[in-house]
């Protein structure tokens, strides 16, 4: 059974991909629990299955076997439509390459997830301003992604991930495309989100310095979890 403090409960999941006639196993009988407000760093070499695991937890992909329960909802049993609605309500995404919509301003990019809610236009605007203030980009809200630096774009992406107040934040190499100073800003921000706003953050990273910001570090190798490592939280 899931413990009271566990937000994510993964049981015996397996996942493989088909490449031509070949079936390539990525995750094998993997079980994992992630506690509420935990800042988990998933590390491992390329092809170890960490992004696949992130995709499965975030409801972007489906496991071949096993169950994934997030906040009491068994997402592996949801239909595509229900899964999309669940993602919209419960998951915030931060990508390596920001993935902002280039024709929209920073404000409009952050507003995107709120289009799917019942909020009024005025409420949406308030939420967006709050999120942009949180990432310290209120003065750049009318800029398009092209007019922002990489670090600023990633902060807009974080604001977009936060704006609908999701339970879970998933980040795939969020600092992978940033210089050292910008990466540090982003990591500090993510740490604050976990500590001060109580968000559960799952971050895939290659960078040990980034991983050190997490409260828990887990290593994946060939689709299998290695022993847990408690991060040296400063």
């Amino acid at each position: 059974m899931m413990s009271a403090a566990a937000l994510v409960d993964i049981r015996h999941i397996s996942k493989s991909y088909r490449r031509g006639n070949q079936i390539i196993p990525v995750l094998e009988d993997l079980s994992l629990t992630i506690a509420e407000t935990e800042f988990l760093a998933l590390m491992g070499p390329s092809g170890s299955g960490k992004s696949t695991l992130l995709n499965l937890i975030a409801g972007l992909d489906r496991a071949d076997a096993g169950t994934i329960t997030v906040g009491g909802v068994e997402i592996s049993a949801l239909s595509e439509v229900d899964l999309a609605a669940w993602r919209a309500a419960h998951v915030g995404f931060i990508f390596q390459f920001y993935n902002l919509i280039p024709v929209l301003t920073a404000f409009e990019n952050v507003e995107l997830p709120l289009v799917l809610t019942d909020l009024s236009r005025r409420q949406r605007r308030e939420h967006v301003r709050t999120a942009l203030r949180l990432v310290n980009l209120e003065d750049r809200m009318d800029h398009t992604p092209r007019q922002l630096s990489g670090g600023q774009q990633q902060r807009v992406a974080i604001a977009r991930a936060l704006v609908s107040d999701p339970t879970l934040l998933v980040a795939d190499e969020p600092t992978g495309d940033l210089d050292r100073a910008s990466a540090e800003d982003v990591l500090v921000l993510m740490e604050q989100l976990s500590r001060e706003l109580g968000k559960t953050v799952i971050m895939v990273t290659h960078d040990p310095r980034a991983a050190r910001r997490a409260s828990v570090i887990k290593h994946l190798d060939k689709g299998v979890l290695a022993n847990d490592v408690e991060a040296a939280v400063p």
Partner: protein
């Protein structure tokens, strides 16, 4: 918000979007023009009156009917009025000046055609002058004719020069009335034919009758044809509409080809627009995957793509429809002698709009299917 995204995406690649808009506009314009030409072919049919019947020689239109039939037809039950007309085929100065010209019974002919509006004094003047003629307003404008002008037609079927005086200028009651015709006295024609001892003297091309009850058309036609069965010139009586359709059906193959070409044009632009949309969506597949990640479902994503396609096709369709009017005016200058009525109909405008909508739908269908069915992970390119 979604509207902003839709419009900005639609014109993200300005040149490509404008070229597609232009392509749709040209296709809709061509579609509208071709349909209008086809409609023009049917102008005579649509202008036909339900209460008029045409009696012609049962063998062919090139065979005439004796004028003596007139009184016998008048006596048939259900016939309210009768007149006649004969295709003259005269040329004014040059063959390229073609227009329809007929020898008619004079003033009574116009009683049968209330759609030809001829002022009373001009009608009287025409009735009094054996060499008088009545011309349509468009024809008079074309050659600069005024009342009292002397003109001459060169006969092709009935040889010789045929001098006449313009005594009347009629205008059409409705827009679909042909104002490019000339009518003169059959008596004038017949006198010369008789003087020359020609076989066609005392003969007419067709009789036109007005019937009291349009519903009795079949019965009246049957009675007339029965009256002349086994005579030297058997008759074929039909409604004016059927008579006009007979002309149109002669060129049915050409009309079919024109219709086919008009649909081919729409088909081609469908393929071009679909290709543009497919390219545009493929370039942005990553963005659609991000939207799917954020929770955007099939309806919203489909709406976005269909909306983009609709914006481009609506702009092109509107441009094409608006452009059809000046294009028709230009075309009319060159083909008014062949197509005297060249007006775009409401039905054609509706078809234009439907064609643009069909292009938008077809163009959006393939990319929508792709975006909706592609797995997010595949579109994001992040597996492993």
């Amino acid at each position: 918000m979604m509207w902003k995204l839709l419009f900005r995406n639609a014109f993200r690649h300005t040149l490509r979007a404008l070229l597609t808009v232009f392509g749709v506009a040209v296709a809709v314009l061509a579609f509208g023009l071709l349909r209008t030409v086809v409609d023009a072919w049917y102008a005579g049919v649509s202008a036909a009156a339900a209460n008029r019947l045409v009696i012609r020689n049962a063998i062919s239109l090139t065979f005439f009917l004796p004028i003596a039939y007139m009184e016998k037809v008048r006596a048939v039950d259900g016939v309210a009025a009768i007149s006649h007309m004969t295709w003259f085929g005269g040329i004014y100065v040059d063959r390229k000046n073609f227009f329809a010209n007929f020898a008619v019974e004079g003033s009574p002919f116009f009683d049968l055609y209330p759609e030809f509006i001829l002022p009373e004094d001009q009608r009287d003047a025409f009735g009094r002058d054996r060499k008088g003629c009545v011309v349509g307003r468009a024809l008079a404008r074309r050659f600069g004719w005024k009342l009292g002008d002397s003109i001459s037609l060169e006969g092709t079927i009935f040889r010789g020069d045929w001098p006449m005086v313009v005594r009347g200028i009629y205008s059409g009651r409705d827009r679909n009335v042909d104002e490019n015709q000339l009518f003169f006295h059959w008596n004038y024609l017949n006198e010369r034919l008789r003087a020359a001892g020609q076989r066609r003297a005392n003969h007419v091309g067709i009789f036109i009758i007005e019937i009291a009850d349009p519903l009795s058309a079949a019965a009246v036609a049957g009675s007339i044809d029965a009256a002349f069965r086994n005579s030297l010139a058997e008759t074929l009586t039909e409604t004016e509409r059927a008579f006009q359709m007979g002309f149109v059906s002669m060129s049915e193959a050409i009309l079919m080809a024109i219709r086919l070409v008009s649909f081919l044009i729409i088909g081609i632009i469908m393929a071009v627009a679909a290709n543009t949309m497919i390219m545009s969506v493929r370039e942005r597949m990553h963005e659609f995957a991000v939207l799917k990640t954020l929770g955007f479902g099939a309806v919203r994503l489909g709406g976005l793509i269909l909306g983009e396609s609709a914006v481009i096709c609506a702009a092109g369709g509107a441009l094409g429809i608006v452009g059809t009017f000046p294009a028709l005016r230009i075309l009319a200058q060159y083909v008014s002698n062949v197509f005297p009525v060249l007006d775009i109909t409401t039905t054609t405008l509706v078809y234009d709009a439907l064609a643009a909508a069909a292009v938008a739908l077809v163009a959006a269908a393939f990319p929508i299917r792709r975006v909706v069915t592609v797995p997010i992970v595949e579109a994001l390119g992040r597996a492993g």
